[in-house]
Amino acid sequence: MSQQPENSGVHQRSAHPLYLELHETAEFAELRRKFRGFAVPATIAFMAWYLLYVVMSNWANDFMSTKVVGNVNVALVFGLLQFLTTFLIAFLYGRHMARHVDPIARKLEQRYVDEHGGHGGARP
């Protein structure tokens, strides 16, 4: 925080015109599209999947108590699937971001550091 006062007080934002410039670039539009293109549908999907599980646990007792193998019933399998999908979405999100979002973000951040005089970046 070399060029900031000790406590930046009122606003952390810089109001630097460079932000507006970066905001209007085609790369940034693509970055936002790629990020939201995964995060928003994935959120809707896992919320719906989880609520389906909760609702079925409440009101579909016959189905949920069907035995699958031994003492393992549908309810337990459904619950374990929630763990599996959570791990899977977390993994897929990490991969999607590393492949499609991080490279653009690094490029824009580098441009900010270059044009801004090299301070205030995430990697000083």
Binding site: L22, M64, S65, N73, Y93, E109
Partner: protein
């Protein structure tokens, strides 16, 4: 040596190690970024461990396996919400917050709003959520530690609360975020190793056959196959809707818990924030899967009927007693060692969680209320950190006193309330701020106060507080809201208030600052950097 003596020795070992860590951390703490955010220099894996240590409270360590031991499948159903919730934090909050915030939750909102009203609102909900959560932990700690150490009486409970409170104040005042984080990391490692050990020993009793374990649990519970199916706890329509309400608060509340949010500031970059949440999901998920084994194991191997130790402790003793049983049973050396070990893990768990909560409240009081609202930013880092330390004393002291007087309080509803406020007041304002350019100061304050007040009013009017034999005031009845969990009403209300406040006011400055927030949160350009000593 009895298991109580052994447990006392291990408790003291935990205390000695954590005090050592705290002194070490205090020497590494120089400026505000060190004190509030651990210098932003923890790795993704370290922070993942610390997040798990912060999140898995005694309520989930002992509570979930206990709930499974007593109510079977419904306890498991309850644990899943706590895990799925992390996807909200991962996909929508963690990275963007790391890039656009600084020390507190309010920093993120204050980025493009009028400082004083927004910081006052965010600090209010931060302190309210943290105090509810802190009370739940400390009230539980008193009862639990005395139970595990085998001491009895009101004064033993009070003494324990004071001791836990003083340790927590010490960690936070002396060690700041660095000390607190390392305490949480140590706790997470202890918790995971203890849980893995007991899980393997339980599975070995049932030839590593899950179906055999489930069958034995169903038989021994006396409830038959119904024990393996949903519905034992949530039997009536009101209870079913109440459970949906709870599930919503759990899933949406986690990403709005201030003590979780500030953990994302302790890593150098947004990518590390992502890595840390992925580690947290792995550890927390593995932990809840093992809780399933522990819970059904306790149901299969212990007496969980009316009047048993497990039932009398509302399930909290299920894991420790199970550890004793798989170690060889009562009176054996193996049983005593494992029981003492699990008791020490529970103790470390309580310490790590209460320290995180105290630090969060103290940071918000010092950084938001003192430095920015009261002094309008005209303070030095040194003064601000000094105030944070004093605030930690104050909040810790208040928590100790409240916990002593709140001994008879039903703690489950305090935790549920903390999650409900986080989901109804904090999450709407955070998400609107990150994703809606039109969002403004009035929207933020209305979302926070609206969500908070709706939550509190509904809970006060619910059967958790009056008009029910298990209520806080069982003798009186002023309840009119049928659900114990307000989430199903208060979460949409929080979003609605935020929207309404926004569209009824104009704030061109907030709109104009959105592109900078968006660029910074998505690219990390200009984000707070790690501190290099």
């Amino acid at each position: 040596m009895s298991s109580e003596t052994l447990a006392t020795v291990l408790f003291l070992a935990v205390v000695a190690v954590t005090i050592g860590i705290t002194f070490w951390a205090s020497r590494q703490t120089k400026g505000a970024a060190d004190y509030y955010a651990g210098g932003r220099s923890f790795s993704g894996f370290q922070n993942g461990l610390a997040i798990s240590g912060d999140y898995m409270s005694a309520a989930s360590f002992l509570g979930i396996s206990g709930a499974i031991a007593l109510t079977g499948y419904d306890g498991f159903l309850y644990s899943i919400g706590f895990l799925v919730a992390w996807l909200v934090a991962l996909l929508l909050v963690a990275e963007l917050l790391r890039n656009s915030g600084r020390y507190t939750m309010a920093d993120q909102l204050a980025f493009r709003m009028r400082q004083r009203p927004v910081r006052t609102a965010a600090a209010t909900s931060t302190v309210v959520v943290s105090i509810f959560y802190l009370l739940a932990q400390m009230v539980g700690a008193g009862a639990l530690v005395t139970l595990l150490l085998g001491v009895e009486g009101t004064w033993a409970i009070r003494g324990t609360i004071v001791a836990v409170g003083l340790l927590m104040i010490f960690y936070v005042v002396v060690g700041g975020m660095k000390g607190t984080t390392w305490v949480q990391i140590v706790k997470a490692v202890l918790l995971m190793s203890g849980t893995i050990l007991i899980t393997v020993l339980v599975l070995a009793e049932f030839n590593f056959n899950l179906s055999e374990l489930l069958g034995a649990a169903a038989d021994n519970s006396g409830k038959g196959t119904a024990f393996l199916e949903p519905g034992l706890t949530y039997a009536t329509t009101t209870l079913k809707i109440d459970f949906i309400s709870l599930a919503l608060a759990l899933v949406l509340g986690t990403a709005g818990l201030p003590h979780i949010l500030i953990r994302f500031y302790t890593v150098p970059t947004a990518k590390d924030a992502r890595t840390s949440v992925n580690w947290a999901i792995t550890l927390i998920g593995a932990f809840y899967l093992m809780s399933l084994v522990l819970g059904f194991g306790a149901a299969a191997m212990l007496d969980t009927g009316e009047g048993s130790d497990v039932a009398d402790s509302a399930g909290n003793l299920a894991s420790p007693l199970l550890a004793e049983a798989v170690g060889g049973g009562e009176g054996t050396a193996g049983g005593a060692i494992l029981l003492a070990f699990i008791a020490a893990v529970a103790f470390a768990t309580i310490l790590a969680v209460v320290a995180g909560l105290t630090l969060t409240s103290a940071s918000s009081v010092a950084h938001d209320l003192y430095a920015n609202v009261w002094k309008k930013g005209q303070v030095t880092e040194k003064q601000e950190v000094g105030v944070a330390r004093i605030a930690a004393f104050g909040i810790g002291g208040v928590a100790i006193v409240l916990s002593i007087f709140a001994q008879s309080l039903n703690i489950a509803f305090l935790v549920a309330l903390a999650f409900a406020v986080a989901a109804s007041a904090n999450l709407p304002s955070l998400l609107y701020n990150l994703f809606w350019s039109r969002f403004n100061t009035r929207g933020a304050t209305w979302a926070i106060y609206g969500g908070l007040i709706t939550c509190v009013v509904l809970v006060v009017s619910s059967p958790a507080v009056s008009g029910d034999p298990t209520a806080m005031f069982p003798e009186s009845d002023w309840s009119w809201f049928p659900l114990k969990n307000p989430g199903i009403i208060s979460i949409p209300a929080g979003f609605l208030f935020g929207w309404l406040g926004t569209i009824t006011s104009r704030e061109p400055e907030a709109d104009a600052a959105y592109p900078e927030l968006e660029v910074r949160s998505l690219t990390g350009a200009g984000a707070e950097a790690a501190v290099h000593h």
